[in-house]
Amino acid sequence: MSNSSSGNVGIVIVSHSAKIAEGAADMVRQMVGNAVPLAWTGGDPEGGLGTNVAGILEAIEVAWSPAGVAILVDLGGAETNSEMAVEMLTEDRRARVVVCNAPVVEGAVIAATESSGGSSLTAVQRSAEEFYA
């Protein structure tokens, strides 16, 4: 997990594999440095392959920005657990978190690059989702 102080949209990376999540975060940092709040999570509650709601909630907290947070996920369970986590946020935060329909590595790098220029949450989500559209 990592973070930086900035008003830019935060990025959360959720993969079934902690190694993929961490590696994707490294690629994001290489592109945008500390200009974007960033956190990653991967693995089930015991550290095996999978995703978990508590880890996702923690990552959202670490990457929190008043501009909102864009979550990039890999496979189905990562999406379902991320949506569950978003629903468990307080109402004011819930409206400012989106789960992007985009590939996790490419989406994270593109979303972070868009965010680093000061774009809105909507623009960050769109940039990630348009990549393969």
Partner: protein, 204 residues
């Protein structure tokens, strides 16, 4: 339906034990058409539920069901956590403390709709909905405990020839045909265990 504290504890133990006892079977079903973690994930979730006893059974039925759902959401670690957890949480929100059968019919209908929304899925896609939906229909039609349990087992069997449309198994396309859906199997096990307790303790 009267569920006192002892009956509530029995219900929780029945649900947890059936999942834990069948964990290996659920895992092999999931190895055939998924990522092979369903047995372990569900076992982890229900062991965490057991760990909240005896305090869990001190709660009134609605609070107890919500607590079970939240534990599953937090501990299962796969998509089945939010799916099965949502079912329990919504049941807890919809049921009164001492439900009549009509309350159970209405609450299960609401809970199934919440699972559909959570998974963006419908019956017919080789998921736990292929057990929940037909079993709820038997419950709504006035079927007795035996009819409900039988429908749960048969509905899980009926997922074997189905083509998976949602979840990891859908990646296999037609190769998903010929294997029972693991989520349907765990749902049928849970329903069987619940019905056995409710019939004996509460006269379902």
């Amino acid at each position: 339906m009267m569920l006192d504290r002892a009956a509530r504890e029995k219900l929780v133990r029945g649900l947890a034990n059936v999942v834990i006892e069948h964990a290996d079977e659920l895992t092999s079903l999931d190895q055939a058409i998924g990522d092979g973690d369903h047995g372990l994930n569900m076992k982890r979730g229900f062991e965490a539920v057991l760990a909240t006893l005896p305090g869990l059974a001190d709660k009134a039925l609605p609070e107890m069901l919500k607590a079970i759902g939240m534990t599953l959401v937090m501990k299962v670690g796969g998509a089945s956590g939010p799916l099965v957890g949502t079912f329990f949480m919504e049941l807890g929100k919809a049921l009164p403390e001492q439900p009549a059968r009509a309350d159970l019919v209405a609450a299960t209908d609401k809970a199934i709709n919440a699972v559909k929304a959570r998974g963006r899925s419908e019956a017919g896609q080789k998921t736990l909905l292929d057990v929940l939906v037909p079993v709820q229909a038997v419950l709504a039609d006035g079927g007795d405990a035996r009819a409900i349990a039988a429908e749960a087992a048969q509905a899980a069997d009926r997922t074997t020839p189905m083509l998976a449309i949602r979840g990891r198994a859908s990646f296999l396309g037609e190769r998903s045909i010929g294997h029972m859906d693991p989520g349907s199997r765990s749902a049928s096990l849970l329903i069987g265990a619940a019905v056995a307790t409710l019939e004996f303790e509460a006269g379902l």
